[in-house]
């Protein structure tokens, strides 16, 4: 069951929509600058709609069922967010309009900044970064500039635990700094003894994800932050897993200096098949002046007492990270979410995310090997292998899950667990859907022993079966080739 490419539906001369007639005298076109041909498809509107609707039906999505992709926080995306973001006054504001004409947008940005500060305990927030990795780059550049500004020029190392997301080391390199990897201990925490051997006056800081990618709270987080601060370094908190902590603990309270928040994870904005995300960054007091700008700022009040907002760039800013002010459309959704939850609601988010993960773990822990046996936070990592089914790998289990109509967990990450299956149910799943997922996992474990070929050949009833990605990468076909 596949769908032709839109190019394959093209018929010369067919048109989809009608632009308006020209209502001014035409100018002379510069003949020497014009292109001869524009090989875009020629399809009708109904061709377009049917094509993309059929494509959409080949996708799995949260709106179809449980999507426990570890570290991605695939919670339900409330539909009220979409109504909010599409209000004409938001959709139609040009980013360079006179600030007096966009006070509603600036009000929203300012109050979202304030809410994120309240939730996390930081002194300043920028909404500019476009995604988590973009927020990481922002944070690491801030840390770097903080040291340089103090005349401390010899620092060039970022410590990164071996359980970290790949974006952490990649960001470090982009910032012109070097990575030193820190191993994890037998409880899944950063190995404090190993960390002690690396803290020195060359350390810019550490990037730490808490809860970490094993879904475990870093039990010695305060010892880590003290060690790093002790050598003059800063602590970067990767906020990918903030969903476990909202309303339960403010990251700034345990000594984190700078942190990004994924609005598309914790704050319910849709992932969009890979974006747009939004990765605001919060910083402690000593880093506020380095934030990228501009930042929405309260500058006064009108005669009638209404607040007046403007955009301001901090004095020693690292510079702007993207054009304009951030993914405003995503900010509207996150603002809506936070306003509808309040203090207790947000705490309930973290509590039920953690309850759901531990419950699902309790249902499968006797069958799936558990490398770190602790109370987990919002996600847990098991091994996708069985003693009584030696040929079965995590990949086979993931693909077999597809046959049962659910989305597989993240697999083969974190790298420190062999055959990792990283499961993050999120708080929006009910006990009923968790039970159904657990039953499927248990059934697959039984199949692994009884009928392993069912797993090796899976998925059997998806729109396509397992794709030969090796051949595809060896001989990449990355675009439609026209037949001229």
């Amino acid at each position: 069951m596949t769908e032709p490419l839109i190019y394959e539906l093209s018929v010369p001369g067919r048109e989809g929509v009608k632009p308006p007639q020209l209502d001014v005298p035409p100018a002379e076109l510069p003949a020497e600058l014009l292109r001869d041909d524009l090989p875009l498809p020629e399809v009708s509107e109904i061709d377009t709609v049917r094509h993309f609707v059929r494509l959409s039906q080949l996708n799995y999505a949260i709106d179809k069922g449980m999507y426990p992709l570890g570290s991605c926080t695939m919670k339900y995306n409330p539909k009220v967010n979409e109504v909010a973001a599409r209000m004409p006054g938001f959709l139609g504001a040009h980013p360079l309009q006179n600030p007096e004409t966009v006070q509603g947008a600036l009000y929203l940005m300012y109050h979202l900044q304030e809410a994120l500060k309240t939730i996390t305990g930081f002194a300043g927030v920028t909404l500019q970064p476009a995604a988590g990795a973009h927020g990481e780059l922002t944070g690491v550049l801030i840390m770097r500039k903080y040291h340089l500004d103090r005349g401390d020029t010899k620092r060039d190392i970022i410590l990164v635990p071996d359980s970290a997301h790949g974006t952490n080391p990649a960001t470090t390199s982009m910032s012109g700094l070097n990575v030193v990897e820190i191993p994890s201990d037998e409880r899944g925490n950063v190995d404090i003894e190993a960390l002690k051997t690396q803290v020195c006056d060359r350390v810019v800081g550490i990037m730490i994800t808490n809860p970490n990618t094993l879904g475990l709270f870093e039990e010695q987080i305060e010892e880590v932050t003290q060690l790093i601060h002790g050598c003059g370094g800063l602590v970067y908190g990767d906020g990918a897993n903030l969903n476990a902590l909202v309303g339960v603990m403010r990251p700034a309270d345990v000594g984190i200096d700078v942190m990004h928040f994924n609005l598309h994870k914790t704050f319910s904005t849709p992932h969009g098949g890979g974006g747009p995300g939004s990765g605001p960054v919060g910083v402690a007091e000593h880093l506020v002046e380095f934030l990228p700008g501009p930042i929405a700022t309260l500058v006064g009040a009108t005669d009638e007492g209404y607040p007046v907002f403007d955009l301001h760039k901090p004095e020693k800013s690292i510079g702007r990270l993207k054009a304009f002010w951030g993914h405003f459309g995503v900010l509207v959704r996150a603002y809506t979410y936070i306003r509808m939850l309040g203090d207790a609601g947000l705490r309930g988010v973290a509590e039920h995310a953690v309850l759901n993960a531990n419950y699902l773990l309790s249902r499968v822990r006797d069958v799936y090997p558990l490398p770190y046996d602790r109370i987990c936070k919002h996600e847990f990592v098991v091994e996708g292998k069985f003693e009584n089914a030696p040929g079965i790998r995590a990949l086979d289990i993931a693909k077999r899950l597809i046959d049962y109509g659910v989305h597989p967990p993240t697999n083969y990450f974190p790298l420190i667990v062999h055959e990792a299956l990283m499961i993050e149910p999120t708080e929006t799943e009910s006990k009923r859907s968790l039970d159904a997922y657990a039953e499927i996992l248990l059934k697959i474990a039984a199949e692994a022993q009884a009928e392993p070929e069912l797993l090796h050949g899976a998925p059997h009833n998806s729109p396509v079966r397992r794709l030969d990605e090796v051949t595809a990468a060896r001989n990449p076909v990355l675009r439609y080739e026209h037949e001229f």
Partner: protein, 461 residues
């Protein structure tokens, strides 16, 4: 909505299965003194209440689609066919994530493949990635790709002052730790010829924009060869406006190595600056140094055609500190919007839209130029934006247009903000959205402003 579906009975059963008494017990590993802080957020609002609040906030903004608008400078008011929002609103697209499991992500994957194809067709290039955050970050990634082509052995980058000021700033932000020498826009009055002359054998790339920030179309013919020769293989990267490519020769028709830019004109709303779309295309020979996701054709065990993420060994989740970029999430849904836009407009529609932009901009320029004290200063051909020298500070003129003229008009961009030698110069954008009536109103308003100037200045109260 109710954000958590659990009933009390279910909670009790779940806690029993876990083997703890209370939910709080699941958080005992968090330092006690920091557990459960008082936050103090505003009280939770119901759906009805929050929508009222947001409607008030949205109404406090002036909607550029509802008044005559001549402001562009990197974000443009264009018409988006209704099908675009219909498709991107579908939950199957909006609530999926990066297509890590290709068997159940063929919708997203094939859409990316079609997008890559359309960007190649539009730009005349060979390889497109699945998008960057916006035009500015795409420009920064072009610099990084060029540095990677030369294995970080070249540290000089030349960038024209006619590249969008925010793109130039983002390039500097991104690369501040890399020890680069960035030249070209240190003198904002440099001509293109003077900028090209700065390319030497230490140069990794030259970044240009065409149509440039002032709307002007640069002559790219022969430029790539020149840059390659003077720079011993240095790359030429060109930022462009995708709507202009409905009409104009694409940069890829010349010897250009990277073409990128802001994809917002392709069916995306203004949205107060985002989310937009960075499109990005390069030559096949530089495929290994491109950043971001790539989708390739693949076949399944039954020989069916399908699509999958490919060449992932360039990326951060595999290569970590040796990745071509740290990018992970990109602009999936915005990419889809552009794909639907380019599909439904197609070969003929995009050409018509581009022509409307060209003709209307030139009509506006011609009319403005008839005024005594306003003049169009562009010397090269332009697309849908041009520069007007004004008799007064642009800020004052814009205040007049917005507040003192009988209808609200959003005027052009104040170039003096970024180019000190261009005080009193306005960058005017005209698209297919500007009817003749809007353009005529704008010109009449400028004429009236001119009259105010003559009789002794503006009145602001």
């Amino acid at each position: 909505m109710v954000y958590v579906p659990h009933t009390d009975d279910e909670r009790r059963a779940m806690l029993a299965s876990i083997g703890v008494d209370r939910i709080e017990d699941l958080f005992s590993d968090i330092p006690q003194e920091h557990r459960y802080p008082e936050l103090g957020l505003p009280p939770a609002a119901s759906e009805l209440e929050i929508l009222q609040e947001l409607r008030d906030l949205a109404a406090a903004n002036l909607n550029a689609y509802e008044v005559p608008t001549f402001l562009g400078a990197g974000a443009y008011r264009h018409w988006a066919p209704s099908v675009v929002d219909y498709i991107i609103s579908r939950g199957e697209f909006a609530t999926a994530y990066t297509p890590y499991q290709p068997e159940i992500s063929q919708g997203t994957l094939q859409a990316i493949f079609e997008y890559q194809s359309m960007i190649c067709d539009l730009t005349g290039m060979e390889v497109s990635n699945a998008s960057h955050y916006d035009g500015a970050t795409a420009a920064a990634e072009a610099v990084i790709q060029a540095l990677n082509v030369f294995r970080m052995k070249r540290r000089k980058v030349v960038i024209a002052p006619t590249v969008h000021p925010q793109y130039r700033e983002v390039v500097r932000t991104y690369t501040q730790g890399m020890g680069l020498e960035i030249v070209g826009d240190d003198d904002l009055t440099r001509s293109l010829e003077e900028v090209v002359a700065l390319v030497d054998k230490e140069t990794a790339c030259l970044i240009l924009q065409s149509p440039n920030f002032f709307g002007e179309i640069e002559l790219l013919e022969g430029l790539g060869g020149l840059v390659h020769e003077m720079g011993n293989g240095a790359l030429l990267a060109v930022a462009t406006n995708p709507i202009s490519l409905g009409l104009l020769n694409p940069p890829g028709a010349f010897d250009v190595d990277i073409v990128m830019g802001e994809g917002q004109p392709l069916g995306l709303g203004l949205n107060f600056g985002g989310p937009y779309l960075g499109f990005y295309a390069c030559r096949k020979k530089h495929l290994r140094q491109i950043a971001g996701r790539l989708v390739g054709e693949a076949h399944d065990v039954e020989g069916q055609r399908g699509y999958a993420l490919t060449l992932t060994t360039r990326e951060q989740h595999i290569r970590r500190e040796r990745a071509t970029s740290n990018i992970c999430t990109n602009q999936g849904l915005m990419m889809l919007a552009a794909t639907v836009y380019l599909s439904v407009l197609g070969k003929q529609g995009l050409r018509k839209i581009a022509e409307l932009n060209y003709h209307k901009a030139h009509y506006a320029a011609q009319e403005i130029d008839t005024l005594d004290t306003f003049s169009v200063v562009n010397t090269k051909p332009f697309f849908n934006e041009f520069v007007v020298r004004c008799p007064a500070p642009v800020e004052e003129i814009n205040d007049f247009l917005l507040s003192d003229y009988p209808i609200e008009i959003i005027g052009g961009y104040d170039l003096g903000r970024d180019y000190p030698h261009l005080q009193n110069h306005m960058l005017v954008a005209v698209t297919e959205m500007n009817s003749r009536e809007e353009i005529d109103d704008f010109v009449s308003a400028l004429a009236e402003d001119e009259a105010h100037e003559v009789i002794g200045g503006h009145t602001h109260d």
